[in-house]
Structures are given as C-alpha cells and as structure tokens.
C-alpha cells in the first residue's frame, strides 16, 4: 500500500499540521517508507496469536481513589498565553 499526496493532506488536516507542497512530498515518502516496514511485518503468519495491546507484557496498575492534588492554578496559568477569571482563553470556537 502506498499513500497519495491527497492521503497525506487529509492526515495533515486531521492532525492540524500545515504542510507546504515540498514538505508534503517528503512526508509522503517517509510515511510510505514506514508502511513498507509494516508490510514486511504483515508477511509474518500471526494466525492464532492474541494481539498485544502493549509492547510490555504486564497489566495496568491501579491507583486508590484518593484526592492527592492541590490547587496549582496560579502556577499553571502563569505560563498560559491568556487567562481571565480563572479560565484559559482561546480563539473563539464556533460550532
């Protein structure tokens, strides 16, 4: 399988990444290279093998349900571009 320039544009849009035509071509070549690796992997017969959800074969550790965090809003908001009344401000989002 190989990606077309249109496929790359669509992926870039979904990822909110702006690509110039030259970058799009480079990215397309790189992605196709990665897909090439995957094609090699897919050649391996994995019938009857349960897919792994993670590269490490251990299970999720759980946390007790306790509130451990305190208010650090002032510190966090000191590095935010814009805040008001405790809110982070962003360009208007219209549905």
């Amino acid at each position: 399988m190989s990606l077309t320039p249109e496929d790359v544009s669509r992926i870039a849009l979904l990822s909110r990444i702006e690509l110039s035509p030259a970058e799009r071509e480079t990215t397309r070549e790189q992605l196709n290279g990665i897909l090439g690796f995957i094609e090699q992997l897919q050649a391996v017969d994995t019938a009857g093998i349960e897919p792994m959800a993670h590269a490490v074969d251990v299970v999720q550790r759980l946390r007790p349900d306790v509130v451990t965090e305190t208010d650090r809003r002032a510190e966090f908001q000191a590095v935010a571009p814009e805040t008001e009344a405790g809110l982070y401000l962003v360009p208007k989002v219209i549905e």
């Binding site: 979904l14 909110r16 959800a53 993670h54 590269a55 490490v56 251990v58 299970v59 999720q60 550790r61 759980l62 946390r63 007790p64 349900d65 306790v66 509130v67 451990t68 965090e69 208010d71 650090r72 809003r73 966090f76 908001q77 814009e82 008001e84 009344a85 405790g86 809110l87 982070y88 401000l89 962003v90 360009p91 208007k92 989002v93 219209i94 549905e95």
Partner: protein
C-alpha cells in the same frame, strides 16, 4: 402513504461517583471555581502519565453485574483523537475494540407493555473540560475542572421503537445507576447525559435508515420532544424525496426543533489506537466476586420478592422499585408496620403520598411524612382506631407537621373512631327521628335513601363512627 417505523439507540454518559479523577488525583466535586481542580495531568502538561483509578473500575464492574453483562477479563484503553480546546491532550482516553462491559440489557415498561433493551457495551473514558463561549470579548473561556472526570458510556442496540420507549429506557437506566450507587444522576449538573441515534424506515424494510444523532439531551422531557420532532422531520424529508444525511444535531428547547451541527465524522477520523501510556486492564473472577458481594439487592430481584412475600401485583412491585428512594421508603414502612400491612402501605405510597409529593414537586427522600410515620398511620387503620376517611385527615395533619405521630394527632384532635355500639345506636335513633322522609322512601324500596341515612349518621359523628358498624346497625333497625 407508507407506515414508518422509528429506530432508536441511546448512548448515555454517566459520571461515576468517585472522589478523584479517572487518571489523576484531582477532585471531581461539582461547582468549584474554574480550573482549581485541574492538575498537570488534566491540563496535559508534557511528560505526565495517567494512572487508572481503581474505584472507576469497580463502578464499571458493578454496572456490568447489574445488567447481566460479561465483564471483560482483559480490556484495553485507546486514544480517540480530535481537536477541541477543552480537550488539551488532543485525544480522549476511552476504550474502543475491547470495552470493559460487554452485552447485557435492561427491562423497560411502557404502560402495560414490557420490553428488553439490549446493551452493546459500556466502556470507561474520561470527560472533557467545558468551553464557555460568552462574555470573553470574542474569546472562548476554557474550564478544565471536568476534564478527566470518570465516565461510563453505556451504549444500547437500536432496540427502541418510539420516543416513549427511549424515555422509559433512559429512566430505567437513570434509576439503576443511582440504585447501585455509581452515579448521582443529577441531569442539571450533567452527571447523566444522553445522545439519541434516530432513524426511520418504512414498516417491513429490513435495513435501517440513515441515522442522525441528537446530542446532549439533559432531561427526559427534552428527549421525548427532540425525538418526536426529529422523527417527523425525517419522515417529511423522505416523503418529499430528500435523502437523510448522517449528521449530529442539537435540540433547541426554546423552538422545540433539532438542527444539524456538523456532518458526523466517520469513526475512522478519530484514528483510535491503543494508548501506549496505559497497560491492559485485567479483572479477575475474585475481584468480580468481591464487587458482587457489595452490590445491593437489584430492582428486579426486589420486585420478585415484593410479589412473592407481600402479594403485590407486578405493576405495583415495578412502581415501588422504580427508584432506590421509593423502595427504601416502602421497605422501611413495612418493617415498622408489619408485612400484613404491606399491601395497604403500597396503596398509600402510590396513592396519597405520591400525589402529594408530585403536587409539591418533592422527592420521596425529602417527604415531610417519614416511612415510620406513615407506618404508624396505617397501623391505626388496621386496628380500626380510625377509618380510611379519617386517615386522610391524619395524613394531612402529618404532612403539615401538626404532630409527630399519627397517635399524637388522633389523640390531640379527638379523631378516634366510635366503635361503642350503644353510642352509635343512640345517634342512629336520632338520625331516624329527624329523617322520617328518607325512612319512608327506604321502606318504599328506594335503596338510595339508605345511603342518605348512613351519610347523615356519619355526619352526626363527624365521620368518626365505624362505617361498617353504622351500616349493620341501621339495617337492623330499619329491618326490625
């Protein structure tokens, strides 16, 4: 003119009643000032890692057990990728291919008609923050307190065939999640939110029509209105030759209309993949057994028990187990007044009490008359201290707080039933003497005249005579 069949599936987001967030140690208490409960994980600072809250998993197991679903021995968290400022990571942690709860279902009732709604799945995920679109000089304000609140998303099969069935399912689910204590059910605060997938098809057609999803229905009334409007809209579109396009729509309560928000991104656009920050969640049989032991008796089991132990009808048992509050009230009243009075208690709860609560827009949990108080009243009916008519008076007095117990009110207001037959006979004699015309009419064969005489006797005792006794004594006197 073809007949249309409505097809509805519901997706419900229930906020889980934990203390902390699903992947961080921030509080999830409602109503804090903006961003005071948003820590480094919730605002997605680089380098942070999610750690799963054990209690959120317990809630999911409880739900799975309550709906007869299978609990996945191994489930996987996935990233659902999309961009929106109230989702600072750029993805929501959810479950996709292997959810924690699979299958199961809920019995619902619409009038006398019962139906089983199948569940597809229920999965754990995190809530997003909130966007505030007003008042920030053309900017949007972001509050991330809600970001990371644990949610259980409960998805049905497209089993419902009318707005009434959809509402009945939503109500049953709403009652169940509160019953098992995993969600507070507060719809105003957004703890329980429903999305409805609605389509129509000509009766007899096998394939489903194209669906539109109505988002964020936060009341049962709006759900009914929104679905009814949407169904009519879809039928009109198709009848006029326009195809339905898959879309997400919003319901506007002011106009009662639904309108398209954006064309629905297909599932592929979310580019789900297993979250490398989280390992598979394993739930062993021993853990399930442990959670099962903590579960309260479920509504269906309780219904069956009420029918078997107290001889209640299926309908009455269903009403009394429609909410945890209702069931607790009934159980506590029966404990106080005895099982022999269970049927009377049921009638009073569903009749007088329900009507009063409804009229005053009060929940049974906040009833001015407590279960032991109602039990006390019903015991006095049972032992003939008061008649049903007087009991209504005592009920009224209890409701208004005129006394602590039925006994105190009966005593203070002199409402004790007159059962002394000598006293009743004396009153009947007086009534007969004063109503010679009715007596004549009765003797002439007018049955109605008898009732008039009973009425007069009851009136003369201010309703305190035992009506049965008055009947018998009066019959005897008129017959003799």
């Amino acid at each position: 003119m073809s007949q249309w069949e409505v097809v509805i599936g519901l997706e419900t987001h229930a906020q889980l009643q934990t203390k902390s967030k699903i992947f961080s140690g921030s509080s999830i208490a409602f109503g804090a000032e903006p961003n005071l409960q948003a820590n480094a994980v919730d605002i997605a600072l680089p380098g942070v890692l999610p750690v799963l809250n054990r209690e959120a998993v317990v809630c999911a197991i409880k739900f799975g057990l309550a709906v007869g679903a299978s609990i996945a021995p191994r489930s996987v968290f996935a990233r659902k990728n999309y961009f929106y400022p109230d989702l600072p990571k750029g993805y929501q942690i959810s479950q996709f291919e292997i959810p924690v709860v699979q299958g199961g279902g809920l019995s619902i009732r619409v009038g006398e008609h019962e139906k089983f709604v199948h569940l597809t799945r229920a999965h754990l995920e995190e809530d997003a923050g909130k966007s505030l679109h007003e008042d920030f000089h053309g900017r949007t304000g972001i509050d991330l307190n809600r970001a990371g609140t644990p949610l259980l998303e409960i998805v049905t099969e497209p089993d419902m065939r009318s707005s009434a069935e959809a509402v009945a399912y939503a109500r049953a689910l709403h009652a169940l999640v509160q019953w098992i204590g995993i969600c507070d059910g507060n719809m105003q605060e957004g703890s329980f939110r429903c999305d409805a997938n609605v389509s129509v098809r000509p009766v007899g057609q096998k394939e489903f029509g194209t669906r539109r999803e109505i988002k964020n229905l936060n009341s049962f009334r709006f759900m009914q209105q929104a679905i009814d409007f949407e169904v009519q809209w879809q039928i009109n579109e198709i009848t006029e030759g326009r195809a339905i396009r898959q879309a997400t729509v919003l319901f506007d309560p002011d106009t009662g209309e639904t309108r398209a928000m954006r064309s629905k991104e297909d599932a592929h656009d979310y580019r789900y993949f297993p979250d490398p920050d989280l390992l598979p969640l394993e739930i062993g049989d021993d853990w399930i057994t442990e959670v099962k032991a903590e579960l309260p008796e479920l509504p269906q089991a309780m219904q069956a028990r009420f029918q078997a132990d107290y001889g209640l009808s299926a309908y009455d048992a269903a009403i009394l187990t429609a909410s945890r509050g209702m069931a607790d009230y009934f159980v506590s009243a029966v404990a106080a007044a005895g099982a022999a009075n269970a049927k009377t208690i049921a009638n009073w709860i569903m009749g007088e009490l329900a009507a009063r609560l409804n009229k005053n827009d009060t929940d049974i949990e906040a009833s001015p008359i407590s279960a032991p108080q109602l039990a006390g009243l019903i015991q006095r009916i049972a032992d003939n201290t008061i008649s049903n008519t007087i009991a209504k008076k005592v009920f009224e007095a209890l409701w208004n707080g005129e006394g602590q117990t039925a006994d105190a009110i009966i005593e203070a207001q002199g409402l004790k039933q007159i059962t002394d037959s000598g006293a009743i006979e004396k009153i009947i004699d007086e009534v007969l003497a004063a109503n010679a015309k009715s007596v004549e009419e009765f003797r002439a064969g007018k049955e109605k005249a008898f009732n008039a005489l009973v009425g007069q006797a009851m009136k003369a005792t201010k309703g305190k005579a035992n009506p049965q006794q008055v009947n018998e004594l009066l019959k005897k006197k008129l017959g003799g």
